[in-house]
Amino acid sequence: MTVTKHTPDRSNVSSQELTTALVQRKLSWPELLGLMRAPKEPSRFDETIVAHQQLVDWDEQILLPLGENLYIVAKDGRAIVKTRAGAELGPWNGNWKMQCRVIVRRDRADLLELYPEDQLTIDSDLIEIREFLCPVSGTVLDVDCVPPTFPVEVDFTPDLAAFYRDWLGRDLPVTL
């Protein structure tokens, strides 16, 4: 359960303020339960974008959150992948992981930097752990657990055109 120290009274706040608090992980467990039980509001996406836009130091318009600390943004009429710290990782539908820095843990000594010795039973002959880092901040953006030599792939390639035009009913501000 989320640990909250001081939960302010949010009973009368706007939907935007509630979503901003959600993005910043400031909601209490009862507030989160309320969100889970409530109908899924169509406004949530736009509110989420506003909340994320407030978290970053750069100006490009966020088109889609891809993960904690990772976005698709509009830049010079194109959609690219960008980290919260500002690293640009190539086109929106490309393999952004290949623009990261990476730590590949492929033997027991490497894994022991992560796990306690008496609990570690992962067989590094079968699996390697690949940590993909934001090249600016060193934040871990994704951790893959794959057999050695397995190609690096991204978990998600959105259908941006269908999402914006068909689902949100608006123009996509970039050329795909």
Partner: protein
């Protein structure tokens, strides 16, 4: 031809043709009853649901087995004459759709003519070819008639702890084929006039070690079905038969439409990619069948597509093939696995019925681990493949919710880890059972909170650990401890639920053995990755020790171990002596154990969410206070420094250390390419790649394109080159690969 005069087969074929032609259930365009009187429609739906749910609660008090009575391992549902689910209870909801497949199997195989479908008939099934998952999941089904017309089916499923398997517990870990997985009830008529036939009950008594559990659960299921039949009669009296027929169709079509709306309201269209790779080893087991005496990795490729029209499609092209082990899946189990995902994550409110199933599609390559084609294939532990597959689908759905802003919906699951006990119990009777305390396993992390430390498994949202005392009554064992394992959670901004463990002592039996295994994480494997920088936990382990001095320790009043690690330390330092013992990550079939011997299992923790360096220090301190983490573990995982300033400084240093240790991914690619070209990997990994290539060039082409090489280096599959016959002589559920441009199927 009217509904009243048409055969069930004609009605089913008409329904399927209408859906094929219109894309709508029964071709319904306007939902007449819903639109003309929505309040009446809601009232009708509520009556059906309350009938089903209240019946389920009553069934618990009729059942005998601990699985049903104490651990919620059952479900009941109402179906259309064509076999489509209308309303269902909570419980093991995987079987809502497997029951549907069972009904369609009956219809499509001509049961109307022979053995005939009459009022009072009882049908049962645990057969994978008839939509079932595995032998312990026993379906009980009755038709409901209005005069001569079959107007509904009512079905219930319970998981039996014992199914007559070779090894003893309900789920065999080591059988090579179906002939070792126990009693098959292959879509059979087992009763008439609302009573089970005496010869069927005799067959159960002869074929099972613990026949009373199965028989009394059967009676509970039959009672539930009869209660629903009776209650349904009253509802139809009140609303009218014509209204019932039309409104139930509309419920399903509305369910389909609502599903599409929900996907469009909460997800993002696109392609999602996942990978699971359960590691299976048996060559170390001294008692394994020659056919099953091999070690291998099952690679399961998962591509989930959320289409622009709101459908969800799962494609498994590139997965390895079925083999001589009980972890194989077929369309029935795979559809069931998808169903538990849909009902828990997407369709948990509003209309939970087969309408959702009409808005999804799975492409299961023939002959693969997800669509085994051999008529003698074993699926006894299909769950050891299904659980990692669908847990990974939960993770993929989390990515979608994050993108849309619904982080409160993100939820990940955990592997199921399992003990099977076989031999003679404390009453000197033959016994076999799986300890279902695994139904209280932890969760993976959520998008807004840590995973529950004692939650429920992916296969039963109502699952619970149950009282240790119940399991001490069930079999010849006493708990020495049940406890959390510190530092065994997937690290992350939100951590996975904590692993926990049980350690048992054999009590009042001189002849008992155990199987110890886990889905997707045993034998050095990892269940699946975490989300957005979260990590998987450290690994799985189990323990057995035979011929111990534990009874002497008790006689002397000395300290006993309460967990696996403590028992291992005592075995290592000689405090506990044993003729033989094992502790480690490989699945086990122990030698015979006797009074005072030990066995134990770790219930693996959940995967993490987000970079661990972003974890709230207050959450770390709470874990430290609760004994879920050690200080060393908190420093290693979270750069926790004890106070805010020290933690901040340690985290900044850790980020810099990461950058210093890392290399640009392009540089890693250039360095790693030579290895990828020669395929310098372990034998198991080599075999895994080659077994994928044997069925499909999907991974081969991806590999060659990624590494920019001409030759795929993996050629040895490590398994005999054989073909095995597919079932003949009856209809069964089928699936195939997604059609690909330029590929002639």
């Amino acid at each position: 031809m009217t509904e009243k005069t048409a055969s069930l087969l004609q009605r089913l074929e008409r329904s399927e043709a209408l859906f094929e032609r219109t894309g709508r259930y029964q071709g319904l365009d306007t939902l007449v009853q819903l639109e003309s009187d929505p309040l009446k429609f809601e009232s009708f739906h509520s009556r059906l649901l309350s009938m089903i749910i209240s019946t389920r609660e009553t069934m618990k008090y009729i059942a005998s087995s601990p699985a049903v009575r104490d651990f919620e391992e059952f479900v009941i549902g109402l179906y259309t004459p064509e076999g489509d689910a209308i309303a269902l209870s909570t419980g093991i909801m995987v079987h809502v759709h497997t029951l549907s497949e069972f009904i369609k199997f009956i219809i499509k195989n001509g049961y109307e003519n022979d053995p005939k479908i009459r009022p009072g008939d009882i049908f049962e099934n645990n057969e994978v070819w008839a939509g079932g998952v595995h032998t312990p999941d026993v379906m009980t089904l009755i038709p409901v008639f209005d005069g001569d017309e079959l107007i509904a089916w009512v079905g219930a499923v319970a998981h039996e702890l014992e199914a007559g398997t070779y090894e003893g517990p309900g789920m065999s870990v080591l059988t090579p084929d179906r002939y070792g997985e126990g009693l098959h009830i292959s879509a059979e008529k087992v009763g008439e006039d609302d009573h089970f036939r005496a010869d069927y009950l005799l067959r159960l008594r002869m074929g099972l070690r613990n026949a009373n559990w199965w028989i009394l659960d059967d009676k509970a299921k039959l009672s539930g079905c009869l209660m629903v039949r009776e209650a349904l009669g009253k509802i139809i009296d009140e609303f009218g038969l014509d209204y019932y027929k039309q409104a139930t169709k509309e419920l399903i079509e509305e369910g389909r439409r609502e599903f599409l709306k929900r996907v469009k309201a909460t997800m993002v269209p696109g392609t999602y990619r996942g990978l699971t790779m359960p590691v299976h080893k048996r060559s170390h087991v001294p008692f394994v069948h020659p056919l099953a005496n091999n070690d291998f990795i099952d690679l399961v490729r998962q591509e989930m597509t959320v289409t622009p029209d709101g459908r969800i499609e799962l494609d498994y092209e590139g997965s390895t093939g079925w083999s001589f082990h009980p972890f194989n899946c077929a369309p029935g189990p795979m559809n069931g696995g998808f169903w538990i995902t849909l009902t828990q994550l997407l369709n948990y409110d509003g209309r939970v019925n087969d309408g959702a199933y009409l808005a999804v599609k799975q492409y299961l390559p023939e002959g693969s681990i997800v669509n085994a084609g051999y008529q003698g294939v074993a699926t006894s532990l299909a769950w050891w493949t299904l659980i990692p597959i669908f847990a990974n689908v939960w993770r993929l759905m989390g990515i979608s919710w994050y993108a849309r802003g619904f982080t409160e919906e993100i939820l990940m699951s955990t592997p199921t880890c399992m003990v099977g006990v076989t031999g003679f119990d404390q009453f000197n009777s033959p016994t076999g059972y799986n300890n279902f305390e695994m139904a209280g396993e932890s969760f993976g992390a959520r998008g807004v909170a840590d995973g529950l430390d004692c939650g429920s498994p992916i296969w039963n949202s109502e699952g619970i650990q149950g009282d240790a005392e119940v399991w001490e009554l069930t079999g010849p064992n006493a708990y020495l401890g049940r406890s959390f394992v510190p530092d065994h959670q997937g690290y992350g901004r939100f951590r996975g639920g904590s692993a926990w463990q049980s350690l048992w002592m054999v009590r009042n039996s001189e002849l008992v053995n155990v199987t110890l295994s886990a889905s997707g994480c045993m034998n050095g494997g990892i269940f699946h990755k975490g989300l957005f920088g979260g990590y998987p936990p450290a690994g799985w382990k189990c323990l057995w020790a035979t011929g111990t001095n534990v009874k002497d320790l008790i006689a002397r009043g000395e300290k006993l171990p309460s967990g696996i690690d403590e028992a291992e330390r005592m075995l290592n330092d000689g405090t506990i002596t044993a003729e033989d013992w094992y502790v480690g990550p490989d699945n086990q079939w122990s030698p015979n154990l006797r009074d005072g011997d030990l066995f134990g299992v770790l219930y693996y923790g959940g995967v993490g969410y987000g970079d661990p360096l972003e974890r709230d220090p207050a959450a770390i301190e709470k874990d430290l206070a609760n004994g879920l983490m050690t200080l060393d573990g908190a420093q290693a995982a979270y750069a926790y420094g004890g106070d805010e300033a020290t933690t901040d400084a340690a985290r900044a240093a850790r980020r810099q250390a990461r950058l210093a240790k890392s290399v640009p991914a392009q540089q890693w690619w250039a360095d790693e390419r030579a290895r990828a070209q020669t395929g310098a990997v372990s034998e198991l990994v080599h075999h895994m790649f080659a077994r994928s290539a044997k069925l499909s060039d999907a991974l081969v082409e991806q590999y060659k394109a990624y590494w920019q090489i001409d030759e795929f280096p993996y050629t040895e599959t490590g398994e005999p080159d054989f073909t095995a016959p597919a079932p003949v002589g009856f209809y069964y559920p089928k699936s195939s690969s997604r059609p690909r441009p330029g590929v002639v199927s």
